[in-house]
């Protein structure tokens, strides 16, 4: 009931520290600034997406520019991936997309490589040049076959 400025100040310090911690987790670590659609929606079709998941990263030259919003099958039974990238990006129409892996066993993500066309991609456009995910097991078994050793089966 009685006024106590020191306590109020300490409570203020406590709340500010807590909010700073939440902000750090959300923005710096969680990348909350890329939340939700509203950016540039592009469609990419792959033969094989491997371990790609919704909300995986999309990068250009290693810099995060967006995330995967949806993965589904199209009518030709190929994997149709919708990505959501920063709308300020001016990607040429001949941009190519590749599924890469960070490290040997790390998470998979999509790397976009801009081409040289003048025209730029608009929301809803499809990226035509794609490179599917490399599956480690397939690579190993191919390697084993090429070496002329019987594949373990």
């Amino acid at each position: 009931m009685s006024e106590s400025p020191i306590r109020d100040f300490l409570v203020g310090v406590f709340v500010l520290m807590g909010l700073a911690a939440i902000a750090y987790m959300s923005v710096a670590l969680g990348g909350a600034s890329y939340r939700g659609p509203g950016g540039l929606q592009l469609i990419v079709t792959f033969d094989q997406v491997g371990g790609l998941k919704p909300r995986s990263r999309v990068v250009v030259g290693g810099v995060k520019v967006g995330q995967i919003s949806e993965i589904s099958l199209d009518e030709n039974l190929r994997a149709r991936v919708v990505i959501d990238v920063d709308e300020r990006l001016e990607l040429p129409t001949d941009t190519s997309a590749a599924i890469l892996t960070s490290g040997v066993l790390g998470n998979q993500y999509i790397e976009l490589e801009p081409g040289g066309e003048e025209a730029i991609l608009k929301s809803g456009d499809e990226i035509e040049f794609t490179q599917s995910a490399l599956i480690l097991e397939q690579m190993i078994s191919r390697l084993v076959q090429n070496l002329g050793v019987d594949s373990p089966e």
């Binding site: 409570v11 807590g18 750090y24 959300s26 670590l29 969680g30 939340r35």
Partner: protein, 259 residues
Amino acid sequence: MNAVPVQRLGRFIVRTVLNLGRFSVFSLQVVRISRYLPRRTRRLMDELYHIGWLSLPIVCVSGLFVGMMLGLQGYNTLIRFGAADSLGAVVGLSLIRELGPVLTALLVTGRAGSAIAAEISSMVATQQLDGLRMMSIDPLDLVIAPKSLAMIISMPLLSALFIVLGLLGSYIVGVIFLGLDGGSYIASLESAIVFQNDVLVSLIKALVFGVLVALIATYRGYTAEPHSAGVSRATTSTVVTASVATLIVDYIITALWGV
């Protein structure tokens, strides 16, 4: 003789259901009385000081050491697979998703939850709450609601501080003591954590735990028997009930989120 355990079981079930019902009614009353909270900022500040600020040291120290422990254990395990660079991801995910909210809830239950229950139940024992009723002051309004809200506000803040201190602790062990590359620690941390999957769940968990601990502690205190044995029973049962409830609800949220 066979009837005795059966009777006891029956009584236990009846009592549990009865308690759950009363607890729900109590919670509704607290929510309803909370519309008067804007008049109670003075009380709320006092409670935030007691519940939030005074829990800060224990939460920060615990966070730091849990992080250091995770750093050491994670490093020792990951180094066998040559994946020590993923330390940031391992520590970050376990802290943010589970350990941060859960351990904070357990610590705050032990420190502030038990204090709330003890304070309210001793107010029951010494007729202070009846005294308030005689002055036409609702104890739910003056005592229970500010304490509950302060707990609900404090929990996510404390949990976030626990997590950040934990990350610092594992950075200290991993990067400074064990010589990992600081850049790749941060990079693996940042790339592993997604706001919707991890941070949001973490905050929701902390908030839900705050509500749970607040209501359980105030309910146990409020319904305590009016003598000193009642005070100690209220305190003990607060810690036990709130801790178990935290762990059960943690599993339910994790399962529901489907990650």
